[in-house]
Amino acid sequence: MTALGRITATESQASARTCCLHCGTPTVERFCCAGCATAHALIQGMGLDAFYRRASGPVGALKPDTLPPVPLAPHAQPARDGGWQLDIMLAGLSCGACVWLVEQALMAEPDVTHARAALTTRRLSLRWTGERTRADDFAVSLARLGFRAVPFSQPCLDAADDAETKSLTRALGIATFGAMNVMLVSMAVWFGTDMGEATRALMHWLAALIALPTILVAGRPFFRAAFGALLARRANMDVAISIAVLATAAMSLSEALRNGPYTWFDGATALLALLLAGRVLDRAARARAGRAVAELLALQRASVRRMLSDGITEEVPADQLEVGDRLLLAAGEALPVDAVAETGDALFDLAAVTGESVPRTLLRGAGVPAGAVNMGAAAVVRVTHPADQGSLAAKARMLDAGLQARSRFTGIADKAARIYVPAVLLAALAAFVGWMMLGGAGWREALVPTVSVLIITCPCGLAIAVPAVQAVAVGGLFRRGILVASPTALERLATADHAVLDKTGTLTEGRPVLLPGGWSEDALRRGARLAQASRHPLAQALAHACPGAPAATDAIEEPGQGIRAGKARLGSAAFVGAVPHADDGMAIWFHDGDEAPVRFAFADPPREDSPQSAARLRALGLGVEIASGDRPAAVKQAAREAGIAHWLAEATPADKAARISALVAMGRRPVMVGDGINDAPALAAAHVGASPASGTDLARITADIVLRRDGIAALVEAIAVARRAQHLARQNIGFSLAYNLLAVPLAIAGVVTPLIAAIVMATSSLAVTLNALRAGRPA
């Protein structure tokens, strides 16, 4: 063994002592959790441990979830050969080795006939013979390996089977083929000065033979968009491109007919190929972000369990629920529709609906709004509104107006095109009239300088200026966990001048943390043992504060009250028999036998980076304020700690949206950050909406930007990148316009040959593309 090999071997041993053998999370033992140990044993048992030598995904991505697997069997479809088939979205599929592991593990099942996973779309296509219910077994084995399997939902499908990307890619292939072959012929004409008349005519017609079908097929994406714009009486970049390409083709055909010195088919096809390449890259960057958003949605969009009359439950999608259906809501599940509680003392987290940070105990018969998360034991609720009529749908309707206003936003490229297209057409007309009237040329000769104006001002650099910058910026943000979903979001973000922030989960951690004082280490450890048995956020926070404590095996949870194990009790003051404290909203009590009751108090602390991020937002010139549904005291404290002067507490969804509308009416361009259902109307009404990845479905659908990293530091970064992208796009447009301004007199004078036009086009495109690459660098 070489010295180098020994060093790496020792290094890997050292890291094996400190990192989990399965998921790579730093840990003191071999594995960070029981799930990782199971997964590791499973993989070794199947003889697939080559996986660990090849895995290259992010640290911690493979840690198995503790959530129960989503039932997959109802989604299985009968296959043509008599078995079953199913498409699954696999969360955690992060590297090539994961693909290999999943495929190998599933193919080891005797009845699986086909298993193929795609890394780009995280889609697993599965076919098997035998029982339909085997799908659930596969979900369980995948969950053991550390992958969460959910049905490949409609948004995922839309994002994966992206017909537009496909047709653009096809057009790009055809245009590139045409451009290269036409160039082959054109080169001969450019440099073959001793070429005979007949040979030149042959070359011209050969070029026409290749170029005309190419233009007709590959130019369709532009022609279609241009036609749409003209119908709406607008001029956009596609109109400019279509005019340049079609006029060039027509003029070249006329030159071929009269056997002139040059045809310009090469320019037209090369232009198409270049522009299509820009479009494909732009689209690919956004499609990747769109797929990531669809994945997040699929992970949350689980079906619900409906109770039948005989006590059996069945899985149904939320949109098939009817009024009067009884649902069984397990701990941690979110309610998709409005309902009333049938179980007494059910504990619901309403943070997503109202912004309250403390869960509320709902009595039997109390209304439970859609979006509430069950924090206690399994609860039964009765549906009061179908999915399309309840409070969630009402909020969704509030979104429409805002979203429509947003779709009317015109990007900088189209703004430039509105001035540019008429200007170029005027210049071309001037060239034509000038040559006919003053130059005494025939219409055919006059057509040559006219079209060379069109082709030299051809918005090649201009058309690629903005998409190139956006593709690079969106790609760069994606790598840093910021997903830009809407096409104009980046430009809108660059112009934002005011930030309205939600409190819970945005400025604060969004989860309670144990405050010091009033308890001893011993009480904490014994309390934490009980706390591990509950999903109540305060109990979880207590367990989190003492990670080493073993779970109490005989713990029994009394829903809405507390946990008891033997004589020890953990829960509300009344449950443990203590004297209630004045401020018990964020506290739990522990009482063991004859000892004095101990009170654990919690608070939702601000994120460490909140004050700096708020300061950086102000430094970027944005006004900062808070709009929260939480209690005034909590909001005031969070505002003080983050150094934000303006705040709004106990705000309803309508209040938040009204605040945004007021800002818009004042001429401000607000960016709204929020994660709850109660934030969705405000997100839609805002100039730009941003939502954390952990937010609710509705918030993420409405948001233009999804932040996969916690806190508002990501927002600051996104604004900085968006502003620089906007600056670079302006620079690019300015550069292309200046370049064209210099070239137009040459074209009008009639001294431009196809060779010069090609050089001008290539250099300007190259310049703007290189400039665009600067957009992806960290701010």
Binding site: C95, W100, H114, A118, L119, T169, F177, N181
Partner: protein, 62 residues
């Protein structure tokens, strides 16, 4: 001139073959998972993965 009559159609034919290959690859979804394809070639296994397995091989196993 005679050389052109042969070479130009030949060049076009080869180009068209390439284009046909590209369109076929696009149609058979080979462009759908570029990231996966990039890492897939690094795994060399005895048994073909992903492809449909012949039934008799499965029966021998079970």
């Amino acid at each position: 001139m005679n050389a052109l009559l042969l070479l130009v159609p030949l060049a076009l034919l080869l180009g068209l073959l390439g284009l046909a290959g590209f369109l076929w690859a696009l149609k058979t979804r080979q462009y759908d998972d570029l990231d996966g394809a990039a890492s897939r070639i690094l795994f060399d296994d005895d048994q073909p993965r992903g492809a449909d397995r012949p039934r008799d091989a499965k029966e021998r196993r079970g």
